[in-house]
């Protein structure tokens, strides 16, 4: 039986408005070690409304910017960061 892990992704600003939600869930196969790259592939497949945003987003894991190789595990705080405009 295949297991799955569910990840909640925080959304902000223009991305939050586009998705109409401040958090979305994606599911990854539980059998293999999860990374940010795998997470983004899952977003592309499971969240069509956000797919076209992906080239513009950075991913934060536990309040720090992550790379595609960054490992993730259930319970991590994960956020999709659209282009920032502070200052």
């Amino acid at each position: 039986m295949e297991t799955e892990n569910t990840f909640a992704l925080l959304l902000f600003a223009s991305l939050r408005d586009a998705a109409g939600a401040d958090v979305i869930s994606v599911h990854l196969p539980g059998a293999e070690p999860a990374t940010v790259a795998g997470l983004l592939r899952a977003v592309e497949e499971q969240c069509p409304a956000i797919a076209k945003w992906l080239p513009h987003l950075r991913v934060a894991v536990n309040c720090a910017y992550a790379t595609p190789e960054t490992p993730i595990k259930p319970g991590d705080e994960i956020a999709l960061i659209p282009p920032v405009a502070g200052g």
């Binding site: 223009s14 076209k52 513009h56």
Partner: protein, 148 residues
């Protein structure tokens, strides 16, 4: 010292925090204050609304302060305001103190650049005829004022 506030920016406090760390060795304090510009000429802007992914924004500001300390061995302090701001109000202050002005200018400029490129804060402009996110990558049609 890093701060995120919803009220008027504590500009003098940030400047003092940076120079206090150097004590009598501080000869120069460079302070950057960013104020809200009217970016959308042609629209009558009512106000700007700043929002943040706040725990990460604080962490990222703290990392920038740490990098200034490692790279220049200088104290840096900063504060950012969130919520509604009028055009002309101050949204950000960054201060760096140093014995020598060249390093203070360099480090302060670098820190401001980093804040603007890395700290997860966003702003939307709200006009009488709609609102839009600054730096919206897909440049969607403005929402209606009722959505603001």
């Amino acid at each position: 010292m890093i701060q995120i506030v919803e009220t008027e920016l504590p500009i003098s406090e940030v400047t003092r925090a940076a120079s206090a760390e150097l004590g009598d060795g501080a000869g120069a304090v460079v302070t950057f204050v960013g104020t809200v510009r009217n970016l959308s000429l042609g629209h009558r802007i009512q106000y700007l609304e700043y929002s943040a992914y706040e725990p990460m924004a604080k962490a990222e500001m703290q990392r920038i302060v740490g990098e200034v300390h490692r790279r220049w061995a200088l104290p840096c302090a900063m504060a950012h305001r969130l919520g509604r701001l009028q055009v002309g109000e101050a949204s950000i202050v960054v201060a760096v103190a140093s014995a020598h002005r060249k390093e203070a200018f360099e480090a302060c400029h670098w820190a401001v650049d980093e804040v603007k490129s890395r700290v997860p804060i966003w702003k939307k402009e709200v006009a009488v005829d709609g609102f839009w996110w600054v730096e919206d990558p897909l440049g969607g049609a403005p929402g209606t004022a009722d959505d603001a």
